[in-house]
Symmetry: C2
Subunit: 341 residues, 2 copies
DNA sequence: GCTAACTATGGTAGCGCTGTCATTTTGCAT
DNA sequence: ATGCAAAATGACAGCGCTACCATAGTTAGC
C-alpha cells in the first residue's frame, strides 16, 4: 500500500474530491461552482452547495493559487506600526483591496532597509499580485528584486525620486519649502526646529531640507534646532521644545518634524502659560485629527495618507502589467492655517 | 507537442529545476540547501548558492507550503485601523512573528461580524499556522469554522467570555468597576459619561456596564450620558462633553469611553477655562502616550495592548496543538491616577 | 578486512487545485 | 425527425515544491 504515504495521521482534510463525490459530480464542476466560472446548471449548483455545506469544505488557496498562478495576495511593507500615519495608509489600501478579495500580507521594516530587503524577498515568494511599499529608501538588492519580479510595485508617501513602477505621494521637500514660505508670509523671522530621528525618517529630513533651503533663500537662518534621538512622540516633542526654549528663549516660531512632536510642543506651551502664536508659534506636519481638536487647532500641513493608500492600490490593480515608464502621482497636501501659527 | 500547455507565454520563471541543472545537482538538494535541512556538503552548498544568485531564483512558497502542508502564514483580524490601539496590538504580534518568518495576513472587519465571517473563511483557505482575532463577538458560523479548523486561535483584548482556544486580554467589565471604585474613593459623586458607538465597540459597553453597576452598588447613579453616534475621536469627545455640560453643568466627574474621547474632553476644558479636577474631573481608558504628555496627564486605565499581541502570538506558537480546555490569560491593567481626576 | 553506522544525494509520488480540450446533453429552428 | 450551435460536464495533466524512501560513498570499530 503506497497511499497515504506522508503524514500517515494527517488530518482527514476535506478536499474537492470528497465534495465532488458527495455531490455526485466531478471535481472540476465543484471548482467551477465555487468560483462562479463557466456555465453551471442550477440543479447542479444546488447539489454542490449542499455538499459544500454538509462537509464544511474550506478550499485550499495554496493549491488553487499554485494551479492558476495567481495568488490573490498583495505585499504591503510599512516602516512602523507605532505611528498612526502608516495604519492610515494601510486603511486606504485595505478599502480598495477588500472588495476584490485580495488579501494584504503586511511587513514592518522598523525603518531598516535590510529588514525591508528580507521582507521583500519573502513576500515575493508568495507570488503576490502587487507590492506596496513605503518610501524609496531601498537597498540595491531590493530594487533589483522588485524590478525583476514582474509584479506591480507602488512606492508610497514620497515622489521625490524615480519610481520603480508607480510612486504615489507628495513632495516632502516642497512641503518643507511651503512651510517656510507660509510662515515667512505670516511675519515670523526667528525660526526654531524640533525634530526626531532623521536616520529612520528620511521624509522628515526632506521636509527639513526644503524648509532650510527656502528660509536661506529669504535670508533667514534656523536659529536653533533640537533633535530627539528616537521615534517621534508627544512627550519627545514636549521635552525637546522645553530644551530648545531654555537655550533660545527669543525664537518666535518652531517648526516640528510632525504633528506628534508639535502637539507635545503645544502641551509645553499650555503647561508653561506661553501664549500660542503671540509668544510662540508652532507648526507641525501630517494634519492629525487630534491636532485639529485642540483648543487652538494646530497649524500644520495635511498630507493625504488615506488617499495615498487608496490611489496606490487602485493604480496597481488597474492592470497587471507595469507601465512602460515609471509613473509618479502627486496627491498633494494642504496647508492648514490653524490657530498656532 | 504538449509541453508548455498553459499560458504559452507564461513568464519564463526560474524554478528549482533550473537552479538544480545549473548547479549540477538534483532539485531536492537545492531545496535542502535553501531550507538548511538535512546534511549538505559545504562544496555542494556553495555550488547551489552560486546558482541561486546567478539565476536570481525566488522560491515559490505556494508550492512549498502546499507540498509540506505548512504555510507560514498567520491570519490576524482586527476591527479597525483608524484607532491606534489595534496597530499597537498588531505590533506586539509582529514582534513575535518576525523572527520566526511567519507572515501576518491582516483583515479588518470594521466591527462587522459578517465581514469577520467572510474574512475568517478566506483566511482559513490559506491554511494559516494560527488565527489571531480581536474580541468574542463572532457569528455562529465563524465560531464553528474556527473550532473545526484545527488551527490555533487566539481571541484578543477581552477575557470576559469563554475562548475557543486561547483568550488574551483583560476584563473590561472589571475595569469599568474599578474606575467607579477609584473615582468614588477620590470623592466624586456626580458622574457623567461620554461615549461612542456601543454597537461596534462592545468592550466600551462592557466597561460602561461595570462602571454603572458598581456605582449603583454604592448608591450612585450616572447623572447624564452623552453618546456620540460614530467611532471615537478627539473631536467627538470635545463636542460631546460640551453638550453634556450644557445640559448638566453641575457634574463633577465625566468618564469617557476611551482616551481619544477623553482628550477631546480635556481640550474642551482647556478651551473653556474649566479647571480640570477642581471644577471637572475627566477619566479615560487606554493609557495612550498622548494623554500622558498632557500638561496634566490624563487619568485613565492603561491597557497592555502591545503585550496582548505579544503574549497571544507567543502562546499560539508554543504548540501547534490546541490546549485541551480553553485558556484565558489576564494581562491586567493599571489605574493611572494622572492629573485630571 | 568486513560489517555497522553515518553522511550525502537522488528518484519519485504526490500536495489540492485549475487550465485546456474533449465529450455529452440540451434547446430550438427547420 | 434532423441538424447544429450552445450549454453542461468531465478527463487529465501539471503548477513547483517537499516528504518519503532508497542508494551510494565514507568512516569507524573490532
Amino acid at each position: 500500500m503506497r497511499t497515504g504515504r506522508r503524514q500517515p495521521e494527517r488530518k482527514q482534510k476535506i478536499t474537492l474530491a470528497e465534495v465532488a463525490k458527495l455531490a455526485g459530480v466531478s471535481e472540476i464542476t465543484v471548482s467551477r461552482v465555487l468560483r462562479n466560472k463557466g456555465a453551471i446548471a442550477e440543479a447542479t449548483r444546488q447539489k454542490v452547495m449542499m455538499a459544500v455545506a454538509e462537509t464544511g469544505y474550506v478550499p485550499n488557496r495554496l493549491a488553487g493559487s499554485l494551479a492558476s498562478a495567481d495568488s490573490n495576495l498583495c505585499g504591503v511593507i510599512i516602516p512602523s506600526l507605532s505611528n498612526i500615519v502608516f495604519p492610515e495608509v494601510l486603511r486606504g489600501i485595505h478599502d480598495v483591496l477588500d472588495p476584490t478579495g485580495i488579501q494584504p500580507v503586511v511587513g514592518v521594516t522598523h525603518y531598516d532597509p535590510h529588514a525591508e530587503e528580507k521582507l521583500v524577498r519573502s513576500l515575493l515568494a508568495w507570488k503576490p499580485q502587487a507590492m506596496l511599499i513605503v518610501g524609496f529608501d531601498h537597498t540595491d538588492a531590493t530594487r533589483l528584486m522588485l524590478k525583476n519580479s514582474e509584479v506591480r510595485v507602488a512606492e508610497l508617501m514620497d515622489i521625490d525620486a524615480e519610481a520603480i513602477d508607480v510612486a504615489v505621494g507628495m513632495s516632502h521637500h516642497k512641503a518643507g519649502a511651503d512651510t517656510a514660505r507660509h510662515l515667512i508670509a505670516r511675519g515670523y523671522r526667528r525660526f526654531g526646529y524640533v525634530g526626531h530621528d532623521w536616520n529612520s525618517d528620511r521624509r522628515a529630513l526632506s521636509r527639513h531640507d526644503g524648509l532650510r533651503m527656502t528660509l536661506a533663500e529669504n535670508g533667514i537662518d534656523i536659529v536653533d534646532e533640537e533633535l530627539f534621538d528616537g521615534p517621534s512622540s508627544t512627550m519627545a516633542g514636549r521635552q525637546s521644545l522645553a530644551r530648545l526654549l531654555s537655550r533660545m528663549p527669543d525664537i518666535d516660531v518652531v517648526v516640528f518634524s510632525n504633528d506628534d512632536m508639535a502637539i507635545g510642543g503645544v502641551y509645553h506651551c499650555l503647561a508653561e502659560g506661553i501664549v500660542l502664536k503671540e509668544q510662540l508659534a508652532i507648526f507641525g506636519f501630517n494634519g492629525l485629527e487630534i491636532g485639529e481638536a485642540l483648543p487652538q487647532p494646530l497649524s500644520t500641513i495635511r498630507s493625504r495618507r488615506f488617499e495615498i493608500g487608496r490611489i496606490a492600490a487602485e493604480k496597481i490593480l488597474e492592470s497587471p502589467e507595469r507601465s512602460a515608464t515609471p509613473l509618479s502621482i502627486d496627491t498633494g497636501y494642504e496647508i492648514v492655517s490653524g490657530g498656532t501659527a
